[in-house]
Symmetry: C2
């Protein structure tokens, strides 16, 4: 039995793509005592995977050249030498772009069959947990106030918009292109969605935010964030959750930031990381799980299949071609690798 | 009896100076019912006066051309047609660069003789209240943690450094030139003070902040703020209190802001305005007054005299020539205008 992996071959100038990864095929090794083998069934792509192919440090170190590309996966234990990791159970963990992973208990969470692989990798993982935690632990939504969400059609944005609407807020999305803005209003139900690629972006945004943005959930930074800062309500809360704009640029240090408006509106900018709330993951998943069961929260994913397609799908995702969370199946329903 | 006033003649390119102000002399008018006349005895210069000579809006509108330049003053009521404003009492209020002001009760606060004019215009006004409120209401100092204060030798900085030290914090000042940095360490007692004009500024700052800055009290913004952002401790709190750097520039909108470090350290940036805490002014002054009486908090002012010197002294202050609060006497001890 052989294992396929994608490892980092070179660092991208702009966005990572197939040319930056090497396919590495190696024999599967026997397990040691205390280990188990996971067959990866589905992987989730994330913006941070692209960021880590570059050589700058944010909250997390870059991938080394030659290193397996890490990512969140859903899989099944197919062989075990560890009593805490029984054969046949499903797990989620950060096990990377590969067919098989050798794991120890602390690397994975055993997950129930109550939810699907897709749910475990989306609503019950970063995409759902991030806005749930940022809104519940920091910003606290308020009915009648306005929430602005950038990257609103993206993996995290789709849950942020939904949670804002469930909270009774007026929700304004920001997304690129009419396909996405229509998705955000018609499928997610946002009150408005503004196209940041449009020439009338600033005017459209000002129009949509007529009472000012009380909470800005920012996944992008850069010029988009600056445009929103001109439309802040007094005492606005800015959740700085992602920095796609800086991550995609060649100068990750600097954001131009329109601090004049932040200052005059007495806004607060909270840099937010989900990882600082790990102790809350179980209770947050209980709440998100309930919303899923009640069909108040819905998944919006873009699904692919085939291990070998992973690098090109990452490039598509980083260039903003897909809506919702991007998932790739690595095994068919019979467990055969694809 | 005549009244001298300085009014705005033209907007400065860079820093306001004598060429931007006109001296206007007009007869003192009879009082109407409900009014009183204040003889201005001392005025306090502030960075916001310079900012308001330019035509951009922050939290406060610019002065109009031809408008009396406003500022905080200490004075005495010398004539009254208002029972709430008895003759002979001392008042503070924003009455501007002039010899005499006609006032209504809501424009001033009657102040006790318990404190001096200098104290009422400094520790018990913006210079003392601003850091007391920002630290007590937002950042909360913690013994053993590190406080970084920019513009540490300035009007507000001198009280911020002292309050940080009284709170048991390690206090690092930032100031321009050896005269000021020495003042901050030897007179104020800061643990270190770094010269932002020095070529070794970044290295000196990193050295002084070896455990990271837990609270950054920022009066300056711009490149100084960015340098501090590289030295933030995890979960640092940034109090954005002033933006001298942007106010003095020709592009007040934009600050370059090193958001990468703010993000990776999960810092929070609080835009702070004292005016949002007006209801707390009396209780804050009671606490600051106690610290003054106990000689735990000391004044550090630069004193001048003579109404006609006001515009040139403002220019000196804006160009960073003075230490502590800049005060100008407009009347001698016998009450004669000077």
């Amino acid at each position: 039995m052989q294992n396929r992996q994608f490892i980092l071959k070179s660092r991208p100038e702009y966005l990572a793509g197939p040319e930056n990864f090497d396919l590495k095929i190696s024999p599967v090794l026997p397990l040691k005592q205390g280990e188990a083998r996971v067959a990866v069934e589905m992987v989730a792509l994330s913006a941070w995977q692209g960021m880590r192919t570059k050589d700058f440090k944010n909250f997390i170190r870059p991938f080394d050249l030659g290193e397996l590309i890490d990512c969140d996966v859903f899989g099944k234990i197919i062989e075990t030498k560890c009593s805490d990791l029984p054969e046949g159970v499903s797990v989620v963990g950060r096990l990377g772009w590969q067919d098989y992973a050798v794991i120890k208990p602390e690397q994975v969470s055993i997950v129930s069959k109550e939810f699907s692989a897709e749910e475990w990798l989306t609503a019950l993982s970063s995409p759902g947990q991030t806005p749930y935690l940022a809104l519940s632990q920091v910003a606290r939504p308020m009915p009648g106030e306005t929430l602005v969400v950038s990257s609103a059609a993206g993996a995290i944005g789709v849950y942020t918009v939904q949670l804002g609407l469930l909270s009774g807020m007026r929700v304004i999305g920001i997304a690129g292109g009419s396909r996405k803005t229509e998705f955000v209003t018609t499928k997610l139900g946002a009150h408005a969605c503004v196209d940041y690629k449009s020439k009338s972006f600033k005017a459209d945004l000002a129009n949509a935010c007529h009472d000012g943005a009380n909470i800005y959930f920012d996944l992008v930074g850069g010029e988009t964030a600056d445009a929103v800062s001109e439309n802040l309500a007094k005492n606005a809360k800015i959740l700085m959750v992602g920095r796609v704009s800086a991550n995609n640029s060649n100068d990750p240090e600097w954001d131009p930031a329109n601090m004049r408006h932040v200052w005059s509106q007495e806004a607060t900018i909270y840099a937010f990381s989900r990882y600082s709330y790990k102790n809350l993951f179980p209770s947050v998943n209980a709440k998100i799980g309930r919303l899923l069961k009640q069909k108040l929260l819905k998944m919006h994913n873009t699904n692919f299949s085939g291990f070998e397609n992973t690098p090109s799908i990452l490039n598509q995702m980083l260039s903003g071609q897909h809506v919702g969370k991007v998932l790739i199946k690595y095994a068919d329903t019979k467990g055969n690798r694809i």
